[in-house]
Point group: C2
């Protein structure tokens, strides 16, 4: 089987928002599809270990913010690569709360959908969630970001929990030192300065990757 | 609810192939997603009234051909807008059969996936089908066609069975007459010649739309 063929499937990029006892929480997914045209239902695929999925199952409600090509890589990194179990992923993002307390991402998005979970279909690692659309409303103008655009233009990676994750060899080498730009190869976060001045236990502020994940650019 | 927001979800374009007692049959879908990364499972959304779905449930097997931007609108029309219940949709297409007898579309495609159905989740009009990938192999080079590209560049429409179908007022007027190009507003098929010379019961050879669906171009 040539599993690279599966990379040719087309997806969008979406920020999922849930309310964890009033605390905004969420994640990035690429697999949201419409199932029925009338009284619309959508499906999304999510990893069972994802904290956002836990909250979604507990509360039965979530929002979808449709990302555009204007979405900042840092916003995708903040929502996509860290776990909301331990930290407030929305703290540095421009967001609003719906009447139901669901966070929606106001920056780099062109539309929002709020949903109630109907049912789930579990596979080994992931779950397909079916949800009834409660409301849908427009955001700013913008071209929806495709997953291909994210990979090829934004140069983003798939986090380990993604259905589309492909294992890569873990880098544990020390990055070059000296002043410059150091880019996290896991989420794209850029550190500017002298990397040798960072603490030994420095980790990526977006995704928590160890210092070995940082590569000097240029 | 502003249901136009749902049009901002991103999809690809795929030809589904099934074997109807040895006869190749299939349809076009836009909703194929990967569910699990290891031992991959995919999901697709399909209309219950779709004949391809009948055959898929009876045989438990289907193929996915990933369409590229080079796919001919006529090939999409042939598979997407007619029903395989009554006609051989593959008759004018360049296709091959897998070892299991599943048709795959050789023209305008960059990859193929063969699958066995695991389970289904039924909604009012549509079903989410979960299927285990049996094999995946590359086709010709090409950029996968997105649903957006199909709408904006190919100027294609959604057939009535699509999850993403939006009702449009049915045109019953007679088209202009005289020599020229006449385009079916349902599937994009182009008739060239003097439309007034066609038979009164002329229907679109691709999708079966009545003559009132043809508009003179230019």
């Amino acid at each position: 089987m040539d599993s690279a063929v599966l990379w040719q499937l087309s997806y969008g990029m979406y920020a999922i928002g849930v309310s964890d006892n009033g605390r905004p929480c969420g994640c990035i997914v690429n697999t949201v599809t419409q199932v029925t045209a009338e009284n619309p239902v959508i499906a999304l695929n999510v990893n069972k270990q994802n904290y956002t999925y836990d909250v979604m199952m507990r509360t039965g409600a979530f929002s979808v913010s449709i990302l555009t090509e204007q979405a900042r890589p840092e916003a995708i990194g903040a929502l996509g690569f860290a776990s909301g179990r331990d930290q407030d992923k929305f703290q540095n993002l421009d967001y609003a709360l719906t009447a139901d307390g669901l966070p929606i991402l106001k920056e780099g998005t062109c539309g929002f959908i709020t949903c109630k979970v109907i049912s789930t279909m579990e596979m080994e690692t992931h779950v397909v969630v079916l949800a009834r659309v409660q409301d849908a409303f427009k955001g700013a103008d913008g071209v929806p970001m495709t997953y291909r655009y994210y990979h090829e233009v934004v140069k983003g990676r798939a986090p380990k929990n993604a259905p589309t994750y492909q294992a890569q060899s873990e880098e544990v080498s020390q990055p070059e030192q000296g002043p410059g730009k150091y880019v996290c190869d896991r989420c794209g976060y850029t550190f500017e300065g002298d990397f040798s001045q960072t603490l030994a236990d420095f980790t990526c502020p977006l995704c928590g990757a160890s210092r070995g994940h940082f590569k000097k650019q240029g």
